[in-house]
Each structure stands twice: as C-alpha cells, then as structure tokens.
C-alpha cells in the first residue's frame, strides 16, 4: 500500500492553492485547444515551454498534464459536433457520436463521452500510481544495451502505430533523428551537421520543430485545400442528462474501454488508435442491437472515448518510468523535464517523489475539474467551434511567431520554422505521420548515448545487443513488430474497414 501513502503525499502537493490554480488553468486551456481545430496539446505545450524558466517543475508539469488531459475531453466535443476527428484516436467517436448529434441526441453523446473519459481517466491515473513503481523496479536492472534495444523496440512500434504505413512512419522518425543530431556532440564536443552556421551549434530547438510541423505545416496543408468544403457544426440538442437506459448502456463500455486503453497505452509502443478500435469492435459484438451501430449507438461513443483517455494515462507510465515518450506530446513534456535538468527514468521516483506524486494527484483532481468544465459548461466550448478558419489559423501563426522568435530573437529561427513547416506540409500531403519526427528528435540523442555507452563497455563489439537476454528479447519483439502488422492487417483490417465504411 506504498502507492496509497505516496498518493496521499501527492495530494498534499497538488492541493495547495497555487497548484490547484495551475491545474485549473491547464485543464481549461487543454479543453479549449482540444475543441479548436488547428491546435493540439503538443503544439500548446511547446509554445508554453518558456514557462519552465519561470516556475518550479511541479507547477509546470501540473499545467502541462492538465493541458494533455484537457485536450482529450475537448477533442471529443469536436468529433461529436463537427465530425472532424482531430486525432486518429477519436475517429470512432466521430462515427457514432456525430450520428447521435444529427439524431438530436448530441447531449447524451457528449455526456457519455465526458463521463466515460472521467471514469477512464481516474482508473488510468490510479493505474499509473500502482503500475509505475513496478516498472521502476524492473527498469533498475537495465543496462545501456537493454535501454538501447528497448528504444529500438519503441521506435519500431511507434512508427508502425502512429501512421498508416510503417515505412513512412520510419522515414518521419529517421528525419527526427537527423534533427536531433544537429549541433555539438555532447560527448566529444564535435559539431555535426551545422553546415558552418554558428546558430546551429546549439542544435535545433524542439519548439521550432514542433511548431513548424504542427502549426505552420498544418496551416499550409489546410490552406492548400480549404476550398474543399466546410463541415457543418451540428447544433447541440438533447438533454445532457442521460436517461436510465443510456446509463445502463454506457457503464460497461466505459470499463471495457478502460481495460483496453490503459494497458496498451502503457506499453512502450503507445498508440491510442488500436484500443479505440478494439473497444468499438467489442462493443458492436456485445451489443444487444448491433444494427444501431453506424446510426448512432451510444456504446460506440462510450467505449472508445474511455479507451482513448485510459491510453492517454497509460502513455505517462513509460514516459515517467523509462523516459520513453510514445506520443509527440509526451516527447515535448520530456524535453520540458530536460530543461529543468531532470531525467525521467527509474530514478525520477526516488529523486523527485513530490513532483511525480504531486503530478499524479493533480491528474486525479484535474479530471474532476474537467468533468465540470465539459458538462455544465459545454455550451461555452461549442461556441469556440464557430471561430472562422481564416482568423483561427492566422492567429495560430501569430502565437507560433512568439514561441519561435522569442527563443533568441533571430529571423533565422523564423526561416527555419517555415522551412520545417514546408516539410510538414509535404509530409501531410503525402501521408507521412508527423508525430514520430518529434519523438525521434527527443529520443534520438538518448538512444545514441545508450548505444555508444553499450559499445564502449563492450569495446566496440556489436553482439552485446544479442548476448544480453533482455536486449535480445526487445530486439526480437521489434523484429516481430515490423513483420506482424502485415499479418494483423490481413486479419483485422477488413473488419475495421467494414465498420468505417458504413459511416
């Protein structure tokens, strides 16, 4: 029951008035950017990174985690009322939720999404509290070779899961590695890939990459095709109070969705998409009236929304315990840790217990705030959907300028930002996932360090990765993960397609 004592201590940290305010600010901002098309939690946290110079780490991470959770809630509102899922994880919500909204049951869809997110978020956060110490125990036995192999495994699975093709995911990841390599090598002081530019010696700032891809690239992509029509916003109708029938149809999907989402999110592979699809598929199988699916079945909103939020909680487990981010948002949070000189990993729980447990406790508090923000105050967020696209995207670029130009007041940074934005536009147009770029950029240097340490210990002998049992196991799983998706697709894809195509 160590975890409970730790949690109690965490509540003592999180419940101070200042930290409650940070949490409230985070979840409010998170909901807003989740609702707004064109903004995501990764972009927002990247723009807010300078705050790490002003406040203590606990406050900053309470803020960031609030944004992270809040964006999940806000995103489901947009999926239901606008039918444009912002993330792959909310595709399924859009399918059934938007149908419900069209049938005049938008209120119930939003309610089951919010309450399901709440239930899953609370269970998932408690899951972090109980699972993370176990992972830490295990991770303490890892040597550099094992870490490197684990990262390889994570790279492979992340690139396979975050996009529609493992090949294009790996391209994005490798491009991220390159961006991470630019600058002075920390071990030897040797400049690499600076092309003679002194600005490049410090390396490329992750803010420039994240903002370039997620704000500039996105804006260019949307601009290039804005004439292709606009989504209609379904007006919010129907009571937010779910009927007894809707409650009884919702609670089991919430729990099942959580059971899919948390463990899969907690794997070093991450990915919220697979659990949401699994949940949708399961609910359809188990439903008393499966013919309702595709026409607005509440189970199809309740289950996947819970799975989505539970996996968001799960992602924090490898991030905090192993220093392995499996989403772009987690990667940017990791770089915030680095700017404090804190290294997430097994030692984090010993060296910064008040930070870790305060963060976990604040997530539990933040979830309660989010439930209030997203049910009684939903009308406020719906109004934000009406911000016209020209003003929204132009405004996003103004904030992008502040985040980038503020780094060193150099127009070179802005040019680099726009160059990366152009790369992001090409990537979007040609269906490359952009999140692995950020993950590769943050994790690449760590992987390189472990690789070189392992090879130094083994005196340059590459077989060290195959002779250590842990490392060999990770590499074997990575190899299987590269091949297995092809089988997976052969078996599962027709079914998933089938659901999707019946939109």
């Amino acid at each position: 029951m160590d975890a409970l004592a730790n949690l109690a201590a965490g509540f003592a940290v999180a419940a101070t008035p200042m930290n409650l305010l940070w949490c409230l600010l985070g979840v409010t901002l998170g909901t807003a950017i989740g609702v707004l098309p064109g903004l995501g939690p990764g972009l927002t946290i990247a723009l807010l990174l300078p705050i790490t110079f002003k406040v203590d780490p606990t406050a900053a991470f309470i803020l960031f985690a609030g944004i992270y959770y809040g964006a999940m809630y806000g995103g489901s509102t947009t999926s239901i009322l606008l039918n444009t899922p912002g993330e792959s994880a909310t595709i399924v919500t859009a399918l059934e939720g938007n149908r419900m909204a069209r049938n005049g049951r938008g209120g119930a869809a939003l309610a089951t999404a919010a309450i399901g997110s709440f239930v899953a978020g609370q269970i998932g956060t408690l899951g972090i509290a109980f699972l993370a110490p176990q992972v830490v125990e295990m991770a303490l036995a890892f040597g550099p070779a094992d870490y490197f192999a684990l990262m390889v495994l994570s790279f492979v699975t992340v690139s396979a899961m975050l996009g529609s093709s493992a090949l294009r995911g790996l391209v994005a990841l490798t491009f991220g590695f390159f961006l991470g390599l630019v600058g002075v090598d920390l071990q030897t002081g040797q400049p690499r890939f600076t092309f003679g530019l002194p600005e490049m010696l410090d390396g490329i700032n992750v803010v420039i990459v994240a903002v370039g891809l997620f704000a500039v690239g996105e804006t260019l992509h949307v601009a290039a095709r804005w004439r292709r029509g606009h989504d209609e916003i379904v007006p919010l109708r129907g009571s937010l109070w779910m009927t007894k029938d809707e409650w009884s149809r919702s609670w089991k999907p919430w729990l099942r969705g959580t059971a899919f989402g948390f463990p899969i999110g907690a794997l070093p592979a991450g990915g919220a998409e697979i659990p949401t699809f699994l949940s949708y598929w399961t609910e359809k199988k188990l439903a008393k009236n499966p013919e309702e699916f595709g026409k607005g079945a509440i189970e199809g909103v309740a289950g996947p929304e819970a799975a989505n939020n539970a996996s968001a909680a799960g992602v924090l487990v490898p991030m905090l315990t192993l220093g392995l981010p499996t989403s772009a948002t987690a990667a940017i949070m990791l770089s915030a840790f680095q700017s404090y000189g804190i290294n997430p990993g097994p030692m984090l729980f010993q060296t910064q217990p008040q930070l870790v447990w305060g963060l976990i406790a604040s997530l539990l508090i933040g979830n309660v705030m989010l439930l209030v923000l997203n049910l009684p105050m939903i009308a406020l967020w719906v109004r934000m959907l009406h911000i016209p696209a020209p003003l929204l995207y132009a405004g996003v670029l103004v904030f992008a300028t502040i985040g980038t130009y503020g780094i060193s007041r150099s127009p070179v940074d802005l040019m680099l930002l726009y160059a990366i934005g152009f790369v992001g536009f090409v990537m979007r147009r040609y269906d490359f996932p952009t999140a692995p770029v950020v993950i590769g950029m943050i994790l690449g240097p760590a992987a390189e360090q472990n690789l070189r340490q392992a090879l130094t210990i083994s005196a340059g002998d590459w077989t060290v990765f195959l002779t250590r049992p842990l490392s060999a196991t990770f590499l074997a799983i990575a190899a299987i993960a590269l091949v297995a998706p092809h089988f997976w697709e052969l078996v599962k894809k027709p079914r998933i397609e089938h659901h999707l195509v019946q939109d």
């Binding site: 995501g40 939690p41 972009l43 705050i51 002003k54 964006a71 947009t78 039918n83 444009t84 899922p85 993330e87 792959s88 595709i91 975050l162 529609s164 391209v171 490798t174 590695f177 390159f178 390599l181 071990q187 040797q190 690499r192 890939f193 997620f214 996105e218 260019l220 949307v222 601009a223 095709r225 804005w226 004439r227 606009h230 989504d231 998409e273 020209p390 003003l391 995207y393 132009a394 405004g395 670029l397 103004v398 502040i402 503020g406 007041r409 802005l414 040019m415 269906d431 490359f432 996932p433 690789l451 070189r452 090879l455 340059g460 894809k493 397609e497 999707l500 195509v501 019946q502 939109d503």
Partner: protein, 217 residues
C-alpha cells in the same frame, strides 16, 4: 456509405492513419466492405485498378527522390565530420552513419512504392493544391520574417495575419487588420509578458509601452 471524412480543417496532432487507410483501401476490398444496399454505386463492377494506380506517381516519385538526395547530403556531411583516433570505434559519427544508411534504405523503399503507382490516397490525389491560397500564406510568412526586425512584432503580425486570412478566403482586410492588431498586442503584453519571453520592441510596442508607463504614472 463513406461520405469521406475530410481531414483538413482540423489540425491533427497525430496524423490520422485510419482516414488515409480508409481512403486508400484497395478497390477490391472496398467492394467487399461497402454495403451494397447502402450504396448502390458500389454495386457496379469496380475496376480492378483505378486509372490513377496505373499511372506513374509523379508526386511520390519526387518525394522519394528528395529523400534519397537528402540521405546523400547527410552521408556527405557525415564523412566530413573529423574523427579523432581516440574515438575511432565508438565515435561521434556512429549515429550519423546509421542515420544516412536508414534514410537511404527508406528512400529506396519509397522509390519502389512510387514506381508501383504511389501510396497517396485517391482523395488527396484528386484534390488539387490551391496555389493561390498557399501563395497568400507564404507571402504572409515572408512578410513576418522581413518586417519583424525593422518594424517590430505587432506590425509584422498584422501583415502576416491579413495575408494568411486572405489565403483562407477572408477579404475583410480592415476588420482582419484590427483583429490582428489587438491580438498581437494582447499576445505580446499578456502571453509573452507572462512567460517572460522577450520578443523585442518596435514602433507600436514602444508607443504602447510608454502610454502604459504614463497611465501607471
């Protein structure tokens, strides 16, 4: 069925694989997946390969060649890194070498796919790039870079804002300029001020700053 979900309009934090998966479904599979009752059009015989799949995929080819060229540049720059004999076995070039090898292999993989008809979804292929819109947005970005040092953040932002908004079809220049002016000032004084970001001064900033100074007294 299949009112194609559009994926613009909503910025994606993660890319949406299932969208593209869904749109890039093989024609055969689409025929299987579609419910013929819902969608009469789909009951017509579906050609084995839509014409676009037979054609040489120019865009994808360019992307693949671009990646290979990039890999070559990375290779060249890797060999340009001097290595002290001290680190000859595990030195600063080990990761860069892996990097260009991966880039090259992946680029060749993409090239293979491009030659076999490409991977871009039909929906994306059929939607032409709106170069006028892109041109206005690019002009806005260029204006920002050019104006931010001489004229200051606020003026540069206003110029960028109205041009980007025009790219998205909004021609209410004056209203947009007004919104941009207020937004830039609020962002400068609020957001940047609170975060402690220094984005420099300019004509407008200095004027507002001294006005505030007078008010504060």
């Amino acid at each position: 069925m299949a009112r194609p979900l559009r994926r613009d309009g909503r910025a994606t934090f993660f890319r949406s694989p299932a969208f593209s998966r869904r749109r890039s479904v093989d024609p055969e599979r689409r025929a299987v997946a579609a419910d013929p009752i819902d969608e009469p059009a789909m009951t017509e015989p579906v050609p084995q390969f839509p014409p676009s799949r037979l054609r040489f995929a120019g865009g994808e080819f360019a992307v693949a060649v671009g990646l290979i060229a990039f890999a070559v540049v990375v290779m060249w720059q890797t060999f340009a890194i001097p290595v002290s004999p001290l680190y000859s076995k595990v030195g600063p070039t080990i990761a860069p070498h892996l990097n260009w090898i991966f880039l090259l292999v992946l680029g060749l993989g993409l090239l293979g796919q491009a030659l076999r008809g490409g991977w871009q979804s039909d929906e994306e292929k059929e939607s032409p790039v709106d170069f006028i819109a892109l041109g206005f947005v690019a002009a806005g970005l260029a204006a920002n870079v050019l104006l931010i040092e001489p004229a200051g953040f606020t003026i540069a932002s206003v110029a960028m804002f109205v041009l980007v908004a025009r790219g998205f079809g909004s021609q209410r220049w004056l209203r947009n300029a007004g919104i941009a002016f207020v937004l830039a000032l609020v962002a400068h004084l609020g957001f940047a001020g609170l975060l402690g970001i220094d984005i420099g001064g300019g004509i407008v900033e200095n004027a507002v700053g001294s006005a505030l100074g007078i008010v504060k007294g």
